[in-house]
């Protein structure tokens, strides 16, 4: 059992929750544009449930992430199921492995692929994948020996640009997909919230 890595998951959840609460109203407004306005509330609910589930929990980072994912999923909605699966699958892939760049990248990729599978979504469908996949590509750029923190920080703009670029996409998955061209002109709320989840990890001083 890896005491440092374990506390990373705890600290990340705390940072992510704080960041999400800060942006809850903004995410609600983004979701209201072509959806039902609850994305901020659902993300906050999911992170609260995950934090609560991990109170006093011990285990590897992988195990803790899996637990966090299961609790997050119980927040319901599309993002509960998808972000929950993202965390749980990444945790499963991570297992007892080290929190280094190649292992974490592979874990996140497994999570993203699971989201794509469950949601039957592809890049370009205006979903959280449009922030996640650019981020994964950017993470894969540096040499595998690079520090996770440095690589993560360097990759973050790719996620943020990916999220911003969803403004000019027409939604093909999720609630907004039913509105056709009306989904144009606003970034996808799920893509934006993913950038907050990713950014929160930096504040935990890996």
């Amino acid at each position: 059992m890896d005491a440092v890595a374990q506390s990373v998951v705890h600290r990340w959840l705390a940072e992510a929750l704080a960041l999400m609460v800060e942006h809850e109203a903004e995410l609600g407004r983004l979701d209201a544009a072509a959806g039902d306005g609850d994305h901020g509330a659902t993300m906050v609910r999911g992170l609260r449930a995950a934090s609560a589930a991990l109170t006093g929990a011990t285990g590897s980072s992988g195990q803790l992430l899996q637990q966090a994912g299961a609790a997050f999923a119980d927040a319901g909605g599309a993002s509960g199921a998808l972000v929950g699966a993202l965390l749980a699958t990444a945790g499963q892939q991570l297992g007892d492995g080290p929190c280094d760049l190649p292992t974490v990248t592979a874990a996140l990729r497994a999570g993203a692929d699971q989201v794509a599978r469950l949601g039957k979504a592809q890049p370009g469908d205006k979903t959280l994948l449009d922030a996640l996949y650019p981020f994964l590509r950017a993470l894969a750029a540096p040499p595998p020996t690079q520090s996770l923190t440095v690589a993560w920080k360097a990759a973050l703009p790719a996620a943020e640009q990916g999220a911003a670029a969803t403004s000019s996409l027409v939604a093909r998955r999720g609630r907004a997909a039913k509105l056709g061209a009306r989904s144009l002109g606003h970034p996808d709320p799920g893509a934006v919230s993913i950038t907050y989840l990713l950014r929160a990890l930096l504040a935990t001083e890996l």
Binding site: G80, L82, K178
Partner: protein, 332 residues
């Protein structure tokens, strides 16, 4: 505006408690789960009809639990699909030996969570089938009917599936009839104002005075298209034209009709509108059968309405006519 609440994060929990306290003669809480189950025991061999979705649509979904209707309802947070875990727990509580039919509106979150629950149930040897309601013609073009979202058409599909299960049909048959009811149901709606989520102060969308939104969603999604507001008789024409242009092919003329209010549209307005809807239905050669003008699938306090038609052939008619009891809909 949502004004009656305590802590908005407990809204779902408190509404389930209040619902069960009021309608304990019909439903009880599933222990440790966000859902309700009919109190009246069914024969174990009967198919369990499990419905569900986000809260904010009352009487959908919990208001439809009772004899002759749904066996149980899973209740998500406001406008959020219930999680797979909750669906699983409620399904386990409702299931007998006859298998389970999941019936819900076709939304990404619901599909994801019900599908995950279905896989888990199947893995445990419980037979589950799924019928998604896809009545809203505004949400995808002809040829892509199965991509459409579910709105007030829920009412017909639940009624027919519930009646089929109650008369003892097997899972195969209940699923087939529910699917048929869905395939023969079309809805289209207009919105005049958005709704406000508990704890929020602004509505999800605003309709400018003199405007209306065509092709509403029942989650405060704006319409597919904006338009100028028209007198009621023109709106009746618009609703009917759109539905008839999207009607299922070659069916007998008898149709169940639901003119559904979304929340803050007045009943009196619905009747004024229905006057011309009825006239136009008859003029189009259709035979309106036992129309319902009421709030059957709402969207919090959204203003607007939708018109649903369900073509009732000889197989569906007795199921639509069958008796049922629930908090929201009783027939005998």
């Amino acid at each position: 505006m949502t004004v009656l609440y305590n802590d908005p994060t407990h809204f779902r929990e408190e509404l389930i408690e209040g619902f069960v306290a009021a309608y304990g003669r019909l439903v009880r809480r599933v222990p440790d789960a966000s859902g309700v189950i009919a109190t009246q025991p069914r024969p174990r061999s009967q198919v369990a009809l499990v419905i569900g979705g986000g809260s904010g649509h009352y009487p959908a979904f919990c208001g439809y639990v009772g004899p002759g209707l749904a066996s149980a309802a899973v209740m998500g947070n406001v406008f959020a699909a219930p999680s797979a875990e909750q669906i699983y727990r409620v399904t386990r509580a409702a299931a007998g030996d006859g298998g389970v039919l999941f019936c819900y509106g076709n939304y990404s979150g619901d599909v994801l969570n019900f599908d995950l629950a279905e896989q888990r149930c199947q893995a445990e040897g419980l037979e589950v089938r799924t019928v998604r309601v896809t009545d809203d013609v505004a949400s995808a073009p002809q040829g892509e009917e199965s991509e459409r979202r579910g709105i007030a058409g829920d009412f017909f599909v639940f009624k027919i599936a519930g009646a089929s299960a109650a008369r003892g049909d097997d899972l195969e048959t209940v699923a087939r009839l529910a699917q048929k009811a869905n395939d023969q149901t079309r809805s289209f709606g207009v919105a005049f104002g958005g709704c406000t989520l508990p704890g929020q102060s602004a509505p999800l969308f605003v309709v400018e005075p003199g405007q209306m939104e065509l092709g509403l969603g029942v989650h405060g999604e704006p319409g597919i298209q904006s338009s100028h507001l028209r007198p009621a008789h023109e709106i009746a024409g618009l609703l009917l034209e759109t539905l008839l242009a999207n009607a299922p092919a070659a069916l007998p003329p008898r149709v169940g009709v639901l003119l559904n209010g979304l929340g803050s549209t007045q009943y009196e307005e619905l009747f004024v509108l229905y006057k011309d809807v009825h006239r136009l239905l008859v003029a189009a050669g259709l035979a309106p059968y036992h129309p319902v003008v009421a709030e059957m699938v709402t969207s919090l306090d959204m203003a607007g309405c939708s018109l649903s038609l369900c073509w009732l052939d000889d197989e569906l008619l007795p199921l639509f006519d069958a008796p049922c009891t629930s908090a929201a809909y009783t027939k005998f």
